[in-house]
Symmetry: C2
Subunit: 440 residues, 2 copies
Amino acid sequence: VNFLPYELITKKKQGIANTPEEIRWLVRAYTDGLVPDYQMSAWAMAVWFRGQNDEEIAVLTEAMRDSGEKFNFSSLGAPRIDKHSTGGVGDKTSLIIGPIMAAAKVHMPMIAGRALGHTGGTLDKFMSLPGFRIGLSPEEFTENVKKYHWSLVTQSEKICPADRKFYALRDVTATVDSLALICASIMSKKLAEDLTHLVLDVKFGSGAFMKTFSQATQLAQTLKATGERNGVKVHALLTNMNEPLGRFAGNALEVRECYDILCGQTAIDNGRDYYEPTRELSLALSGQMFFILGRATSAEAGVAMAREILNSGAARAAFENLLKYQGPTQIEKLPEAKFKDDVRVEASGYIRQINTEALGIALVELGAGRKKAGDELDMTAGLEMCCRLGDQVKAGQCLVKIFANSNRDFARVTELMRAAFTIGPTPPDELLPLIAKVLT
Amino acid sequence: VNFLPYELITKKKQGIANTPEEIRWLVRAYTDGLVPDYQMSAWAMAVWFRGQNDEEIAVLTEAMRDSGEKFNFSSLGAPRIDKHSTGGVGDKTSLIIGPIMAAAKVHMPMIAGRALGHTGGTLDKFMSLPGFRIGLSPEEFTENVKKYHWSLVTQSEKICPADRKFYALRDVTATVDSLALICASIMSKKLAEDLTHLVLDVKFGSGAFMKTFSQATQLAQTLKATGERNGVKVHALLTNMNEPLGRFAGNALEVRECYDILCGQTAIDNGRDYYEPTRELSLALSGQMFFILGRATSAEAGVAMAREILNSGAARAAFENLLKYQGPTQIEKLPEAKFKDDVRVEASGYIRQINTEALGIALVELGAGRKKAGDELDMTAGLEMCCRLGDQVKAGQCLVKIFANSNRDFARVTELMRAAFTIGPTPPDELLPLIAKVLT
């Protein structure tokens, strides 16, 4: 059956749902180049305004999943779980969760992404270890998952080509921030992983794509519903991205933080452990994963299990093992920045707000992220948080340390970072918890 | 100054007005190919949802007018007026208004269009006269206007190229029916005519682009405001397109109807003159033109003046004169259809509704209009109305006669036409007048 793109756009524009047949045809015809970009972008804008109902989102997701190759882990004869975060600054929990799952012999095939905009990417973090290989063949990846339970691979061009093409179009036509389209983009790739279970870390706040808790909750519900329509069991944590997560943001620095945590280390300053948020969120997500898999009777019991695996050193061993079979490389090869500098407080007061997205953009300027696909990264570039939201700070005190292999942009980045902090005479009215809500 | 198309789309999407500089840049950059179709269509869809304020519409209109060549009639040292109709079925008043204006020595440069969708085009009607020339050089056109007061020319590709390119894109991305974009498209071309006065015939009803009176009124107000922001005095008539206008629809048939009216003839059947609506609307528009030009002290006085010119034979002479200087051709050359047939009533009742757009689409099937640009027309194809909305009709009675040079599609067209009539046991609740409102 052929449809007229004009009719499909008109329906959506008028608030009428597209049928499953229409959506499947549209995705196929767009991927094949039969529907031109200018019709697809008009449709995307109509979707931005009208949204999609649950069935439309599920069908769009499936159609994008089915636009390319899919993994097939049925021969494992065991559940496969993944964790997906909607992205943030310093968001590095995968590097701790993966080892915990591997140590618990839970299969975790991780198809990971590169840095996107102001947010980091798990693959880039691992790539800061010279010798780490992300371009595994599907065979080697599958073999690793079978043998070691945990492996990472870059998203191949053969997985979800429809999403790849459509995302690039949305990116230049201001249609990225549509709940329906975000959901389909995320879930199509997750479904192509042939998962049985998924735990989502949906971020809200100044460093997240969803700025408000209510938007993030809506996205979490939609992602969960879409996954479950496709037979994947999904739980979601709504977590706080109003400040960077933990101590460091930046590729090699984040690997260091995670390895320290896997080794049982802390980063205590003035009675506060700057590693705590990363550790606790990683354990909460891991605990939720044990719970959803039925390995623990509650999320709390799951967290206790995860903490025991972390404390036992088994997770550290699993991480070091990964560096062997997906390298070989060693943690000692992690590069360190040639330059570092302090971003200092100008006028005393309370940290009322942190524009975390602005910090992420400053990190891109420093070389820790990409302005456009293909940009080279400075793996050593990053920041260290020396304060937290709500802290009382004095003029001259260090807010953030910056790191990079070149100090060329330090003056500019210092200004960008300083401008990201709102410091005022009174503390902020309310500080939201790190984990604000759990959808099970 | 360069703008980012992404930012312009985002603003409009969020309901923020684009600045005049942004709109001018967008039109220029799109026309020059610097902004791709896929960004322009996303912007157009955002405009469809959010609309534009009066300033945005005025600036868009000016920017499209300024994208190409413009006429300059300042050397005339006299007012120039045009009439513009938003289009309908059997809408042929230009062929009577032009001669009336010419006879009154009012300058009327008419840049006319081809048939569009289900609506007819003035140029196609004249082209049914073999030998009539529409592709005059700007010099000959200007000379004609100076000498004979009235001339017609086809829209050259050099006039409003931005509108030409943008309209083609809107046509395939379901963004034609935006009040702001319709207004800018119409008025940019009218402003390029270098008019001083304009009378609009804004159609509402089943055969118009604007189906409701309130939509049409909004469009009329917006067109008027945009024209007046650009120094053109504008009046608008809101007129009824819930049934075809007058007796005939179809190119040669409409010329015949107009020439008959110019000759003072009637088409009386059962005590009703089927020519009356065409004659009266033409006189109303002509009267409004005399009024807006200050040649008459009221619209009513203007209508009396126009009626006198019509009755005197001076308008007929002006029409015949046009056929000489813009031909040469003669009315006797008007072709007649080889075939005709009756579309008959199936079950007795009252004509409660006429889907006039469906009649227009059936006319396209018959060859009277184009499915796509460049399609050849059958100049003899058309319909004759043998009833009017609200009439009581009996089974077997003729609703409509169809005409064409081939009867190949008669069975199908008969069905399409019959389906366009809703016949029921009671008369329609309300019949709107031919001229529902005048905006002065």
